[in-house]
């Protein structure tokens, strides 16, 4: 398997290279530049032009690309034009927020979706199954931002149970109060994301269980007198979980992708919000680094999923 992993990693290099060229070129094609937003009181247009020149933005795009890729090889993705911080520092600080929020949301999603799918499948056709099917159809169909706003309004403003923005209370000091404040700020967005994010897992798992229930090996196990609980947990569920496991690689890498809508509406400064801000302010260095990072995550996710499948399903071998 190691050979396969190394081969997959090597294939990633040209893939990332092509992605980086495309992203860089497309970013430069967008109208405007990061210094357009500087026009304002106390800013001399000559100084804006001087900053533009110093940043190399007047060079042809391919020359800018070569400079950028050379630095990127050394781990230097440049400075954010608008935030005036090294891109790696900026992304690093936002990544922490995104990671913990996404992790909590993911755990809550699995904790909700798996029991829902099991209970629905085991009572197929019952009112409970229908309720869960309707719930998942509704949460899949409804625009997420509407629910986000509704939950902020109800639980943030009306009931006042949760904060309505930010990652930490401004006045919190000391390790423990800051930690608790950070968790407190994550609860509402994470729970809301989890409540809206169960559909895929629920659907895969429910239909997986229903498919497996009719398989010959299940009938054989029952004929042998194996208890129903044992049949379900040892045979049906284990096989039904395979599609979920296959998707897990993408889920793990997706933790760092950033939830654009949720972060923007909950005012939670993570990578998703940073991406939107970078695009509107034409912060090229941040845009290219983030897209490249997401591309890398997608490639790693695919590889991880294949590896997980090979581990959990003995029938599958990566060649």
């Amino acid at each position: 398997m190691w050979k396969v992993i190394i081969r997959r990693l090597l294939i990633m290099i040209p893939q990332l290279f092509i992605l980086s060229v495309m992203v860089f070129m497309l970013a430069k094609m967008m109208p405007g530049d990061p210094f357009g937003g500087l026009i304002g009181p106390n800013t001399d247009p000559k100084q804006i032009e001087a900053l533009r020149e110093a940043a190399g933005l007047n060079d042809p795009w391919w020359q800018q690309y070569i400079n950028w890729i050379q630095n990127a090889f050394h781990g230097d993705f440049g400075m954010s034009y608008t935030m005036k911080q090294p891109v790696t520092t900026l992304i690093g600080s936002r990544m922490v927020n995104t990671f913990w929020l996404s992790l909590l949301a993911m755990i809550l999603t699995y904790l909700l979706a798996i029991p829902m799918a099991i209970s629905a499948a085991r009572r197929e056709g019952s009112w409970w199954d229908r309720v869960l099917l309707i719930y998942n159809s509704v949460t899949f169909g409804i625009p997420a931002y509407v629910v986000y706003l509704l939950f902020i309004f109800i639980f943030g403003f009306t009931l006042g149970w949760f904060p309505t923005g930010g990652t930490v209370s401004p006045s919190a000091t000391g390790f423990f109060p800051v930690l608790m404040s950070k968790i407190y700020h994550m609860i509402l967005p994470a729970v809301t994301m989890a409540l809206l994010g169960t559909t895929a897992i629920f659907t895969y798992l429910r239909s997986g269980i229903l498919d497996e229930q009719g398989q010959d090996y299940v009938k054989t196990a029952r004929a042998k007198g194996v208890t129903e609980n044992r049949v379900f947990s040892r045979h049906i569920l284990r096989n039904a979980l395979l599609p979920i496991a296959a998707n897990f690689g993408f889920v793990i890498t997706g933790l760092l992708g950033g939830a654009i809508f949720a972060e923007t509406i909950f005012g939670y400064p993570g990578l998703g919000q940073l991406f939107i801000t970078a695009i509107t302010s034409r912060d090229y260095s941040v845009i290219t680094a983030l897209i490249l990072f997401n591309g890398l995550l997608a490639l790693f996710g695919a590889m991880l999923s294949d590896i997980i499948m090979a581990i959990v399903d003995p029938r599958i071998r990566i060649e």
Binding site: M30, P31, G32, D33, F35, G36, G37, L38, I39, G40, P41, N42, T43, D44, P45, K46, Q47, I48, A50, L51, A54, M79, T82, M83, K84, Q85, P86, T89, S93, L149, I152, F153, G156, F157, T158, G160, T164, G165, G166, T167, V168, P170, S171, A172, T173, T264, I265, G267, P269, Q273, T277, T280, S281, R282
Partner: protein
């Protein structure tokens, strides 16, 4: 020569236009009254209840973009941050309500016209929040940060080059700034600035000819210039000399201020201030639930909802802002660094420009879309500059008959269907680059196009659609003449109202590229060292405004007012530009905000 002091703010304009309009009942009352009102809004909210000792005030700045924490003014270019840094002070000089520098602040300034010098005296008890005194070197260090390209400041402008030796320092030809000296040494409290020439704008704050803040040299001197902008010493752990010091800064989210025990002035009423950002979609709910005591600069579009809240008082202030209609008349010659008015367009005839102006129904648009909070501008200088604004200039109110007559006189005749006007076989066709700002942008643009059709002008939208902000900036700031004829512009203005950087012959921000020897003369006169007193300068301003009104190089569109909702537990809140100790006077009358 660009002086960078008035330079108009397209960025701000984007926010402005994006947010719609701001409150301003100037149709009833076009200036700040002696009763402390702007239109129907009070400038201040005093609160008759007794002020509690201590307490925390929750303030929010409305924005959907995380702010960039940067307390060093020479390195900050973020409007949100400059507002959120308010409690930590920053301005060295106190000003009156019309931005004239006055005595009694952290520092005083005196000018010697004969010697062309200014002497700045820092208060003896002016200290940084670490207890160290603010020194003459600290004041000079601010210039180093802006003028030394190594720091990457965007604040350098030719105005600063009026200080002797500044340009040489900026270009790396000198190690020190020869025009800045310290009579009592670097650790003293006196600084003398030597200018190349006197400027009438010296007396105004925000004139751009000298700095109005200091930077803690002892704290920052060891930071590598390139890294200063991202160093915690300027971002999350800064030194300040205002009433409050930042205790905890969560970049992009919030600043928690506590009292600065080394503050030179009156001890603040409040114990602390929590300053955060609030997304526009949450402003009304936040105010209603008492989450915030004060919300800075909420969008005009939510004004009707804010007005209905029982737990807040709304205060208002005229904004340093003007929106206008721009005509494309030429290009910018980059070799000569000057505008050339050479475009082949019917708009070269001032009667056509005037007709376009008279055809617009700005009052109706303001009534319909701007919640009665914005008013038609009669001239280019906002009424907040009561000495300089030309009250008698009428501007361009809707007058279709007058517009038609102007086009008749200019030789533009109706076609046989009486649909459009023609001249020498060519139809009066114009391209309107209307900005995409908010949900009302398209309706407003189409309304104006209908109005122009009434006078026989065939006006089409640029590329058949509204233009986004980035594309707009790219097109209007390009030196070559774009293929648009008319566009909207909006400028955020500095507190010295000279407009040479906007409309001067050499001004790069002059995106209409109009120019004339007479205009150059009138603009230069406003900033001329020969101006002896304020009366002369006021005359020069009025002369300039009358000329611009007659020539219609641009048509002023609207003035507007900022409004700020304040919870009823807040005491001593004011939006008066001349209030220099507002943060230390602020207080609360109850433990919790009213809901």
């Amino acid at each position: 020569m660009s002086k960078g002091k008035w330079i108009a703010g397209l960025t701000v304009a984007a926010v402005v236009l994006g947010g719609g309009a701001y409150a301003y009942h100037a149709s009833q009352n076009n200036s700040t009254g002696s009763d402390g009102k702007v239109g129907d809004l009070n400038i201040a909210y005093k609160n008759d209840k007794s002020v509690k000792k201590g307490g925390n005030l929750n303030v929010a700045y409305e924005t959907d973009v995380p702010f960039k924490a940067q307390f060093e003014s020479g390195l900050s270019d973020d409007n949100t941050m400059s507002t959120m840094a308010g409690p930590s002070g920053g301005a060295l000089f106190n000003i009156d309500s019309e931005f004239n520098i006055k005595k009694g602040g952290p520092a005083d300034i005196e000018f010697d016209r004969d010697d062309k010098t200014a002497t700045i005296t820092l208060r003896d008890n002016l200290k940084w929040s670490d207890g160290k005194p603010v020194t003459a070197k600290d004041y000079e260090f601010g210039y180093e940060i802006i003028a030394n390209p190594e720091y990457g400041s965007s604040r350098w402008s030719d105005s600063l080059a009026n200080i002797e030796g500044m340009e040489e320092y900026h270009k790396g030809k000198a190690k020190d700034i020869s025009g800045i000296t310290f009579p009592d040494g670097e650790d003293g409290k006196k600084i003398v600035l030597k200018f190349k020439e006197n400027k009438p704008g010296f007396k105004h704050s925000g004139n751009g000819y000298f700095l109005e803040s200091a930077s803690p040299y002892h704290y920052l001197k060891d930071v590598e210039p390139k890294k200063l902008a991202s160093d915690p010493k300027t971002t999350t752990k800064p030194l300040v000399y205002g009433a409050f010091k930042p205790e905890k800064v969560v970049s992009g989210e919030s600043i928690y201020y506590t009292r600065n025990e080394h503050y030179w002035g009156k001890k603040p009423n409040l114990d602390s201030i929590t300053y955060t950002t609030v997304d526009p979609s949450k402003t009304v709910a936040s105010l209603k639930s008492g989450k915030y005591d004060i919300v800075n600069q909420p969008a005009a579009s939510i004004y009707p909802q804010v007005k209905k809240l029982d737990n807040v008082e709304i205060t208002g202030q005229q904004q340093l802002y003007i929106s206008l209609l721009n005509f494309n008349l030429g290009h910018y010659d980059t070799k000569k660094s000057e505008n050339v008015q050479d475009r082949d367009t019917p708009l070269q005839d001032k009667r056509v420009r005037q007709a376009i102006g008279y055809a617009r129904n700005v009052d109706a648009v303001n009534d319909k879309f701007n919640n009665g909070l914005q008013t038609r501008a009669n001239t280019l200088i906002p009424p907040v500059f009561s000495d300089y604004t030309a009250k008698d200039v009428k501007g361009y109110p809707e007058d279709i008959d007058k517009a038609n007559k102007l086009l008749d006189d200019a030789g533009w005749k109706w076609d046989k269907d009486h649909e459009f006007r023609e001249k020498d076989g060519k139809r009066l066709e114009l391209t309107y680059m209307a900005r995409q700002s908010d949900g009302n942008s398209e309706a407003i643009a189409k309304n104006y196009m209908q109005q122009w059709k009434k006078i026989g002008a065939d006006v089409k939208l640029y590329k058949g659609r509204l233009t986004d902000f980035n594309t707009y900036v790219q097109i209007t700031s390009a030196p070559e003449s774009g293929d648009w004829d008319i566009t909207d512009a909006a400028w955020s203005l500095s507190s010295d109202p000279s407009q040479v950087d906007l409309f001067g012959k050499g001004a790069q921000y002059n995106s209409g590229h109009f120019t004339s020897p007479e205009l150059t003369k009138k603009l230069n006169k406003i900033d001329s060292p020969d101006i002896k007193n304020d009366k002369e300068r006021a005359e020069a301003f009025k002369d300039y405004q009358e000329y611009m009104n007659d020539e219609a190089y641009v048509i002023p569109t609207s003035f507007r007012t900022d409004y700020t909702p304040v919870n009823k537990r807040v005491a001593n809140w004011t939006m008066d530009y001349g209030e220099s100790e507002g943060w230390s006077k602020l207080g609360v009358t109850a433990d919790k905000a009213e809901k």
